[in-house]
Symmetry: C3
Subunit: 176 residues, 3 copies
């Protein structure tokens, strides 16, 4: 079963990718690697989980934030590739938690994201990872996650944001 | 117009790349990806912007620091490649801001860097990105930025620092 | 002399790779790049260096932590590749130090790791790097380091943890 079919079977509907909040794009491809920007717990253009895990949020709320962040990342991957079925593997993840200085359970928080990837992609969802604690994150977001994905097939026309013009041909993953 | 010509048209002169402050190199290439080390706001081997954005520095000063950091990154890219015209695309950026714990405007700070990339490379300067807040950065630097660049053509002889000997042939981007 | 022979000549014995502490794998390969998860100063499944460098630990103790972290990273690389002789180059490193907010000597701490890489791999051990200060790290670890390694040859059967089943064939570095 492909990732798109599995999403449907799980009853998961991906959100609309939020607009980048500054001068950057959601995802940039080079060869067969898709580098996906840091995303956060956003729904309908609003941040749902602000504050520090371990103080303002429980670990469980942090896990929710990480899972929602994962849905937004998948939405941006689908936007870049056309379909999640073109994902070969989730390769590398940096999971960042805005938390108190004495917080120690970052891996449990980021599991909210990692478990979603295994639900959607099976073994291909297992990834190398670092889970760490940040002093602060944009707009007070409690979680920010970026990732590198291995993809199959030729590059699609439009990478990046809905607002940006297509990048130069040479930058669009032409066979190297 | 190539990136080198655009730099000239913009009247931008790149600084001399600062020496790495420890056992590492400015940039390492693998295949068509050039991984560039974390750089900071340094001019003539001196750090120009120390302290925490939101306390010691304004957002505008943080943006200046990010732009200067971008110039240093470009200087190291030119050193590694011979010319910025061999840059195909700025792919992925991690922008780190040393700031107060309640700071929320990291994206605006790192835009000082990202806008420079679009000025110099046009659409190929648009990148995937995370902008985050660090507890501390080396030597009290207010900004540190690392990036991954897609490059064209064969690898040049000498990668890394001016002081290091060339890496082993197998490590120099031989066709994979 | 290959890396395995050099390890022996240096009298260095690699530890058993610690189990991942959550839903992720030690390392994931895509093409000729091996992405290695964040590792810490662990020996026999116990964290040896907890606390903040600059307060609970001296710089020298931080360097020890970084060197031990490097040994654990190499253990995971050997597990993924079968032999360290298949490492072409250490490409990119993110060295994270849990330290006080006024700490400035992150590069010296992470040199404990970087010097080990040069001891083991010679010039191929020199890498692009960022060394930064984190608000907190999992389980109070004083150091966490992740890295990207360029490897030679075909992918081996089993990537990731000792516990995980093999990833899908398409994800195992098949020619792209």
């Amino acid at each position: 079963m492909g990732a798109e079919a599995r999403l449907k079977a799980l009853g998961i509907e991906l959100p609309v990718p939020p607009h980048p909040m500054a001068t950057y794009v959601h995802a940039a491809r080079s060869g067969n690697l898709l580098f996906v920007s840091g995303h956060g717990p956003v729904r309908s253009e609003r941040i749902t989980h602000r504050g520090r895990v371990g103080h303002d949020l429980t670990i469980e709320q942090g896990q929710e934030a990480a899972r929602l962040t994962g849905l937004n990342l998948l939405a941006s991957v689908r936007e870049a590739l056309g379909s999640l079925d073109r994902v070969r593997r989730i390769v590398k993840v940096l999971g960042m938690v805005q938390c108190t200085d004495d917080f120690t359970e970052h891996p449990r928080v980021i599991n909210g994201f990692s478990n979603l990837m295994v639900e959607v992609f099976g073994e291909a969802g297992r990834h190398a990872r670092s889970a760490v604690g940040m002093g602060s994150l944009p707009f007070g977001m409690s979680v920010e996650i970026e990732m590198i994905v291995e993809v199959s097939g030729a590059a699609v026309r439009r990478l990046g944001t809905r607002r940006s013009r297509p990048p130069r041909p040479a930058a669009r993953g032409r066979r190297r």
